[in-house]
Symmetry: C2
Subunit: 429 residues, 2 copies
């Protein structure tokens, strides 16, 4: 039985969950996986968690106690953020350790550099928990589905916003009430910015696109829009037209043969109700992958929480431990072998939902319609509703058009002072 | 670049699909996976396919041309059936080849022995395509989810029957019409026995249970019932009560701490419409896995067809090729490390749907109810409908009861000549 020594940096909920799994299933892993995973060092800023877990004898506030520890084979990085985690992972790799991390921002920002450092040192980095919590998605994309050219990946990868959208559509709650409810249940943080503005989903989109298309995609390249401007009126109009509204991470090949480049973005999207992703409710996540031979596949589960994230962290730990225990040579990591250009939104064609708040006066509708027509935007349907006194909401569903045309049209409407507030534009899948 | 030589036995649709992938994506696999997969030998009973594919120069009708070929590193077995495939795979292993197979019946019948032979020879056997076609499920269970104790696996793993049940519930078709439609579309074979009687699903259930519970489960241990006796009246009654009817492969731990044994079966099952599996339509497959830390996860995609099956076959090929290319020591396969008893249906408690066809006469209902009561079967709801003249259909939904009680009650009803035809009993999840 090969003994593999593990050190953990960061003892928050995921770290505690990972330790619980390692303790509860230690004998199972010895029996089934033929590796004896031993926790030999932990570090966190404060010692409360180590104290509560009875791990003070292997604890230090100094993370070098883990990353530079000659006993440690695999370092688990769970401190979050980018800069401190980056230093921690670099130090661990430089010391010849394999690394498991759940840190999406780190991988979406410094993934390529870390993979190269790891390759130079002959060690591995694993990050299944960085996308989709407990859902196996990095593994399937890298292994079973490696036989395919992946055409597109669509993901509901943020449980907070999916919970809020579920409540807003089924319970007719407004945005602020849905947010307060999510916060009360612990699904949203006190500062919900990273979730509701789509930044969390954008980091995951960057990682999914990187793995799916063998192309380094960084967080800052992902066009990102959150759910903060959605109102019950939009969800109701979408439902009436046969759509669910989901915050989607979208990564797809562009061009006739799919090799002109890739398009990576995060925004609220109208999905046909028959689409497999449309019925993903509450805090659940799901990732929908289309490959040229496999066709449509979907991976579904809990995207957050101590148990699911720790499940993926320890899954990675077992795999790296088995690699350490049973093989001599580490395969080169795959990262940016294909290296396609990441295209802007200009490349995107599609159908759109527009909510325009206008003055409820004669001639306004005709003026708005003229602006849309001037950008060759063809209207599939229009509903007009009263909102505030003296104001009307114009709800448009367009036919296929360029995203740039819609953007320019809403700019023109704004300049012509036809809008009482900023236009809301949602993509239709 | 490491060259890995591949030989394929069996050139049916899946074999042809695999060859298409190997040709189309050869350069991609070299670039992304750093393995140069070369097809060097093929065999099938007749040479038409090899001729059509332009592979006559590497073809022989004698499968030893593949399995005993010193050039071949990995043998892909796609001949189907059990006996010939068993001989083929044994010969390949004995000759030191790794093996990829899509053969569920082979693995569900001889899996343990083949794994042991492979371990003795230091080679690997991979069989992702044997369950769920293109859906990655064996890989996730063995890798990412290995951190969990798997509590249960529920699968829609037969596309033919799922298509038929979808049509029977949405289109009000009867069984015979749905079967003819599936045959016309190529979803069902001329002899549909293996699909409609549940044997195909049972082999997959055995494999899923083996991997999930580290316990060798053989095909003959799976309690199996098909869909041949279902009628539109049952699907309508289920729908009215809030259920979808699916042919489920069920594998679960039994007992308070889940270690008394396992229960593995295949039968039509009433699933609450809110269950993630209930909305899996048509020929799609899905496997729902519950683990102690990850919670609920689901894997969805196309369970049949040349492309999906070939996707999994070539995914396995890539993985074995990378193992051959980059590591020296092969890890021991995990198969029956836990070795739990496979329990019979006697261990099963649940709720049931019963359709009893009885004479439409005074006193019959009271006699039937008395028999059910004598077995302590408590009724949640009852609907009586006319069917043939002089006959009535009694549709019962029971409360929680033992499966043995239901079985004995239907035997008693039969003995008492109360039934005009055999009772239909469906499990409710």
């Amino acid at each position: 039985m090969k003994k593999i020594n593990v050190g953990i940096v960061g003892l928050g909920t995921v770290g505690q969950g990972a330790i619980e799994i390692l303790q509860k299933h230690h004998a199972d892993f010895c029996r089934d996986q033929e590796v004896d995973l031993q926790l030999v060092a932990v570090s966190s800023r404060h010692d409360q968690a180590a104290h509560a877990l009875g791990l003070l004898d292997i604890y230090s506030a100094d993370l070098a106690h883990v990353t530079q520890n000659p006993e440690v084979d695999i370092v688990v990085e769970l401190i979050g953020g980018v800069d401190a985690a980056y230093d921690c992972v670099r130090a661990a790799i430089a010391a010849g350790k394999c690394v498991v991390t759940a840190n999406k921002a780190l991988i979406a920002t410094h993934g390529r550099e870390l993979m190269r450092l790891a390759a130079e040192q002959g060690v591995e980095i694993a990050f299944e928990a960085s996308v989709g919590g407990g859902i196996p998605i990095i593994g399937p994309l890298r292994h079973t589905l490696a036989s395919n050219r992946i055409e597109s990946v669509l993901g509901i990868v943020n449980g907070t916003t999916n919970y809020m959208l579920t409540q807003m559509s089924s319970g007719d709650l407004d945005y602020a009430t849905a947010l307060r409810e999510a916060q009360a249940l612990g699904y949203a943080e006190a500062d919900p910015t990273a979730d509701v503005e789509g930044y969390d989903a954008a980091a995951k989109a960057a990682i999914l696109a990187t793995i799916a298309f063998n192309t380094d995609v960084r967080l800052h390249q992902v066009a990102t829009e959150g759910i903060t401007r959605l109102a019950p009126i939009d969800l109701a109009a979408a439902a009436k037209a046969g759509y669910a509204v989901k915050l989607l991470a979208i990564a797809q090949r562009v061009g006739a043969d799919g090799s002109s480049g890739i398009d990576v973005r995060v925004h609220p999207t109208l999905l046909p109700q028959a689409h497999a992703l449309a019925s993903v409710q509450g805090v659940f996540n799901a990732i929908f992958v289309v490959g040229d031979f496999v066709g449509e596949t979907m991976f579904y589960g809990r995207g957050a929480g101590a148990g699911p994230a720790a499940s993926s962290v320890v899954g990675d730990l077992i795999e790296l431990a088995r690699h350490r225990a049973f093989r001599e040579v580490v395969a080169q990591p795959i990262w940016d072998t294909e290296d396609l250009p990441v295209l802007g939104l200009d490349a995107v064609q599609g159908r759109f939902y527009l909510r325009l708040t206008v003055a409820d006066e004669p001639g306004v509708l005709s003026a708005v319609a003229a602006v849309l027509a001037s950008h060759a935007i063809s209207i599939a349907s229009l509903t007009q509703q009263q909102s505030e006194p003296g104001q009307a909401e114009l709800l448009f569903f367009t036919h296929e058009t360029a995203e740039t045309a819609v953007r320019k049209a809403t700019e023109d409407l704004q300049k012509a002072s036809l809008l009482a507030s900023e236009a809301l534009v949602l993509h239709i899948l």
